[in-house]
């Protein structure tokens, strides 16, 4: 790559600013640090030095992981060539190529990467705040997951309701994993027959795409979990423990495990660059901002129509580098991302299911990454899938964040090993 020809000598150094030092931000910073010489300054902005292993939050309420299993220092996983600034982003001035930080200091950029993630906003649902951490809990934050663990420890039975407020949410399979895990955990504790598990979703089924939705829907049925599709929550009455939909349905809960509305960082709104949920309008294939040529977006912060998930952040982070470099060289961006997502879904009993899909192709049954030998099974429960999920934590810290490639797993989606089921044939059979 000819990034720094003779023309660069004596010129001002170029600045790449990355807003967000999470999964996408760390991967991009590390990969850029490997590729670029010292004519380039790479800066990551984040509020603090705590990097959460978010896929691990799911295991905390059931006492499988503790706090120490999901926390690391951001600094430890970002190349020494990258400077880290611990500040809020107050505002982005895209027409001036500047970022204003919380302490009013200003960073100028040649290329800006927005990787500021998504966060839960309980205030967006009427009545949720009143019952928050009283009888409404979450597992999308560390303190939420820990509080939920404490509640479950004292659980004696009743109505356990899993609730999704509005799409899109980070890791759309996590609420399914939660009820599968809860079913298993309650059985072990001898509390399953004293507990009704209800699954409330604004989607038309268990998942967004048809084949996976029917397969995961049948798993819910097999485990005796009731599903309430197309349930769009109007309000919650936490005193009466009621959750009420716009079309007039009411469900009573003793414990509500909620996925509140997910939104992008508030600076999107303050800067006038976000959509109605503060996600940044992004070209789904080039990952360039739809409005600004020198802004690129990766991870949960985009509005592209694929899962908000670590695997997506990883695949985007791997491929976005090409377009950042194109931009630094004043070249046009090229299509680099196909919507590829790859998610291990825990189903309890030390089993898991693997989903692999992209913008065009929905999750299909088969084997991954190799045909026949797998070793992982797509849209089918297996113990190896569960082991894959547990191993993934190591891979996350030591391979993915460092900006290294996972052997045999490509950022591009591949039909290899996948098979579209015949009509009337249920996947996984």
């Amino acid at each position: 790559v000819l990034l720094w020809g003779a023309g660069m000598i004596g010129k001002k150094r170029k600045n790449i600013v990355i807003s967000g030092g999470g999964t996408a931000g760390s991967i991009i910073a590390n990969r850029l640090a490997d590729k670029l010489n010292d004519e380039y300054v790479i800066t990551v902005i984040d509020r603090d030095d705590v990097h959460y292993y978010q896929p691990g939050f799911l295991f905390i309420p059931f006492g499988i992981y503790g706090e120490k299993d999901v926390i690391m220092s951001r600094r430890k996983f970002i190349s020494e060539k990258v400077s880290l600034v611990y500040e809020e982003v107050q505002k982005i001035l895209p027409d001036e190529n500047r970022v204003i930080l919380g302490n009013d200091s200003i960073l100028s950029y040649d290329v800006l990467v927005i990787a500021s993630g998504s966060t839960i906003v309980p205030d967006e649902t009427k009545g949720m705040t009143e019952g928050w951490r009283k009888n409404i809990f979450d597992f999308y934050t560390l303190d939420g997951a820990l509080a939920l663990r404490d509640v479950l420890e004292k659980w004696e039975g009743g109505s356990l309701v899993m609730h999704i407020s509005e799409m899109p949410i980070k890791c759309p399979i996590a609420p399914l994993e939660f009820v599968f895990m809860a079913d298993w955990w309650l059985k072990k504790k001898g509390l399953r027959d004293k507990t009704d598990i209800h699954y409330i979703t604004p989607l038309a089924g268990a998942f967004t795409r048809e084949i996976a939705s029917s397969y995961l829907g049948s798993l819910l049925r097999d485990k005796g979990i009731s599903i309430y599709p197309d349930f769009v929550t109007e309000k919650i009455d936490s005193k009466k423990r009621k959750i009420i939909s716009y079309d007039g349905r009411t469900i009573i809960y003793d414990l509500l495990v909620a996925v509140p509305v997910n939104m992008g960082d508030g600076f999107a709104e303050r800067s006038g660059i976000g959509d109605d949920l503060n996600f940044i309008p992004t070209d789904p294939y080039t990952l360039q901002s739809k409005k600004y040529k020198n802004i690129f977006i990766a991870g949960d912060a985009t509005n592209v129509p694929t899962s908000k998930a670590g695997a997506v952040a990883h695949f985007q982070g791997e491929r976005i580098i090409e377009n950042i470099i194109n931009c630094l060289n004043n070249e046009d961006p090229v299509p680099v991302f196909d919507g590829h997502a790859n998610c291990f879904l825990e189903t309890g009993y030390k089993k898991g299911v693997l989903l692999d899909f992209n913008y065009e192709v929905e999750p299909l049954p088969g084997r991954f990454p190799f045909s026949i030998i797998g070793p992982f099974s797509l849209l089918k429960e297996s113990i190896l899938n569960h082991m894959g999920k547990l191993l993934f934590r190591w891979v996350y810290w030591h391979v993915i964040l460092r900006g290294r490639n996972i052997p045999f797993v490509s950022p591009e989606f591949d039909m290899k090993g996948k098979k579209r089921p015949e009509k009337n044939e249920s996947p996984g059979d």
Binding site: M167, D230, S307, K308
Partner: protein
Amino acid sequence: MQKEIAGKTVQVDAEGYLLNMDDWTKAIADAIAQEEGIMELTDKHWQVIDFIREDTKENGQSPSIRRITKHSGISTKELYELFPEGPGKKSSKIAGVPKPVSCV
């Protein structure tokens, strides 16, 4: 596939959404509304439909329910009363724009 709606032959997808939003006419909107069980389109219905069409033209994608209720002057509760059972899907179908992407 082709479909005749309100005397006009138009291209629709498998679920009956217009493939070309420029094929749309007010008569087509009335006809689709009736198929969807809405017998009469009131001023409030039109307020939503007009917003959806303008917003889709401007942004190149159908607006979400959140976007409709934030900018059209119609509340979510009203939207559910106007287009019962799936207001996002129904209103976009009547407005002649693609089904809104429900993100995965």
